[in-house]
């Protein structure tokens, strides 16, 4: 299969979805020159730096028959649009009794590891998971990025699509043509017997690298990628933990009220899965600090392979 980068995969998804459905429109503060050339300035717009307005414009156009894809740039910038995300987008369908659908996709980059310091190194997906009413997507491979973006655009609900910055240039096999990945279906990225490691985004790769290394010692690690956090494939995660009896969750967001916390909660509150646990579940997350600038400090703040390995050894 051909190999393309995460970014190329996302570009392909945009191109194909805009071709497939004339109701797909897109806007961002940054010009999408290639799309603009193909689809024209009506459907492909660049906006003033007015995140609150263009976040709400996406919602209003979605409620009026279009399928906007709104790119915030970094998730950082979405915070000045919190009213439209929290008070409007997440509530609008339910609050109005399901009268209308709001098929809008909000894309954003996320994550640390690039020495751009606190404000530009954030992983706040659990803030949005908490709202009820938004679907949350977080791909870890180019193929999933493409397939999930296609599904997000076709989904009839507001979706926040997180694009991990450290994965942007990573390449991987991506099938040709119209292949979608459903929202709400986790993938076992590596099967194993002894411990379940749930990784998110960049940390799926890191977990796979650790699994490979530990395999040489005869430790069999199962790596699960939820791919979407809302809906979360609870059944797949529980099934894996019932098999292995051990759980480590790895993410670069700080642990407090995180996706990692949620994953551990849904595992431990299920009686059958709880009884299958042979060790306390572990979170490998960022330190509870704004991500610092200086490379050694940033490295200390974020999870890494050594910490993943240590957590696995603790539960074995």
């Amino acid at each position: 299969m051909r190999e393309i980068s995460f970014t190329q995969a996302l570009d392909e998804a945009m191109l194909e979805e805009m071709e497939r459905d004339a109701r797909v429109i897109t806007f961002a503060t940054r010009r999408a020159t290639a799309l603009e050339r193909t689809f024209g300035g009506k459907r492909v717009r660049f906006t003033p730096i007015s995140e609150a307005a263009f976040t709400g414009i996406g919602l209003g156009a979605a409620g009026s028959g279009y399928r906007p894809v709104v790119h915030w740039g970094m998730v950082t910038f979405s915070f000045v649009a919190m009213d439209q995300i929290v008070n409007q987008a997440s509530k609008i369908r339910y609050m109005f009794g399901g009268q209308a659908d709001f098929p809008v996709t909000y894309r954003c980059t996320t994550g640390g590891g690039a020495q751009i310091a606190a404000q530009h190194s954030q992983s706040p997906y659990s803030m949005f998971m908490h709202l009820a009413g938004l679907k949350i997507v977080l791909p870890a491979t180019p193929a999933d990025a493409k397939g999930l973006l296609k599904s997000s655009i076709r989904d009839n609900n507001p979706v926040i699509f997180f694009e991990c910055s450290r994965l942007a240039a990573v390449t991987g096999p991506v099938p040709d043509g119209d292949v979608t990945v459903p929202l709400g279906v986790a993938e076992v990225k590596r099967a194993g017997r002894d411990v379940t490691v749930v990784g998110l985004a960049y940390y799926v790769r890191e977990a796979l690298a650790v699994a490979e290394a530990l395999a040489r010692e005869g430790i069999s690690v199962e790596v699960i990628d939820p791919r979407t956090l809302v809906p979360l494939d609870v059944a797949a995660i529980r099934a894996s933990v019932r098999k292995t009896g051990r759980l480590v969750v790895v993410d670069e967001a700080p642990a407090t009220c995180s996706a990692a916390s949620e994953i551990i909660a849904v595992v431990t509150e299920d009686p059958e899965t709880f009884r299958a646990l042979k060790a306390p579940a572990q979170r490998v997350c960022a330190a509870p600090v704004p991500v610092p600038f200086s490379p050694p400090l940033e490295k200390a703040a974020l999870p890494d392979q050594a910490r993943i390995e240590a957590a696995i050894r603790r539960v074995l």
């Binding site: 414009i57 279009y66 439209q84 409007q88 009794g97």
Partner: protein, 318 residues
């Protein structure tokens, strides 16, 4: 048409006066923000729109709904929290919507509707069928960034949009002049390159005419207009179990509620003067409004509360 405008204004006023009584009796729930005194804005604007045009509304939104042609039975059922309400009891007074008539929702967040209205106007522009959007908001909303961002983008993209500022002189308990230096809200328009028009918001015909001009401009592809309607909130900002005490001066209230300033009385007198409306026709109209409102209450009370087993219904679209 003017007679229909009068009927709509009377219905709006009586609806909210009734809502206040029903809230005191604890028959409806939550918060009531009465629109009493401001009826000419909703009716003047919506009478210049088509059914296929869209509006966004505010926390003080019952008048906008009625003026756009919403069914008062389903509005009332929503206030009662019943399953036949517009939102099946999930929204209440501050979140009534009727997408079928282009009423894209009241909004509990000051200025929250402006970006959404821009999005609806963008959709209309792309559709190319000549539909426009009218966006209602209070004087208080001009303090929010969403107001300024929306004016700029709408002007930049020439969106078919009418920004309707209902300047009722107060944002909750604060007088406009205590939170703004510039009294004429229409002046914001110049900074964003769109026309700004100030009208007497208690003169329904003036509001209608100003809206018509703005709608024409929008349908013609020339972009948005900011319509600044000067009006007055006759009653309290909001009530829960009981209306809060009045803190404004009696003189001020008297000057705005006088017959020559009351939007409804003015249109009555105007129509009577033209010989279009007799005393008895007016009485009949008021009786009909009362009968319709009684029927709305009966409809609401006959409707069941939503079943808790449906709590999760409507969360995500299939």
């Amino acid at each position: 048409m003017s007679v229909e405008m009068l009927r709509a204004m009377i219905l709006i006023r009586e609806f909210d006066l009734l809502a206040i009584e029903l809230r005191k009796q604890k028959r409806v729930h939550g918060v009531v923000h009465p629109y009493v005194g401001e009826e000419a804005v909703a009716v003047g604007v919506c009478s210049a729109l088509r059914r296929t045009d869209r509006i966004t509304s505010t926390h003080r939104g019952h008048g906008h709904c009625i003026a756009k042609g919403a069914d008062i039975n389903r509005m009332m059922a929503e206030l009662f929290g019943r399953v036949d309400g517009y939102c099946k009891g999930k929204g209440g007074s501050m979140h009534i919507a009727d997408f079928a008539i282009g009423m894209l929702g009241a909004n509990g967040i000051v200025a929250g509707g402006l970006p959404i209205a821009c999005g609806a106007a963008l959709a209309a522009q792309l559709e190319g069928a000549g539909a426009v959007t009218a966006c209602f908001f209070g004087d208080g909303a001009t303090g929010e960034g969403e107001f300024h961002e929306s004016l700029n983008i709408a002007s930049l993209w020439k969106l078919p949009l009418i920004f309707v500022c209902e300047n009722n002189q107060y944002g909750a308990e604060n007088a406009v002049e205590s939170v703004r230096v510039v009294g004429d809200i229409a002046t914001h328009a110049a900074a964003y390159g769109l026309p700004g028009v100030t009208v007497d918001g208690n003169d329904v015909l003036a509001v209608h005419d100003a809206t018509r001009a703005a709608v024409e401009r929008a349908r013609g592809g020339d972009g948005p207009t900011l319509l600044h309607c000067r009006t007055f909130r006759w009653l309290f900002h909001a009530m829960r179990d009981a209306p809060p005490p009045e803190t404004r001066s009696a003189d001020l209230l008297a000057s705005w509620t006088a017959r020559d300033r009351d939007a409804i009385a003015r249109l009555e007198d105007h129509l009577a003067g033209q010989g279009v409306l007799t005393e008895s026709a007016l009485r009949t109209m008021r009786d009909e409004v009362k009968r319709d409102l009684d029927a709305a209450v009966a409809f609401a009370e006959a409707s069941p509360y939503p079943d808790p087993k449906d709590l999760l219904v409507d969360m995500f679209a299939p």
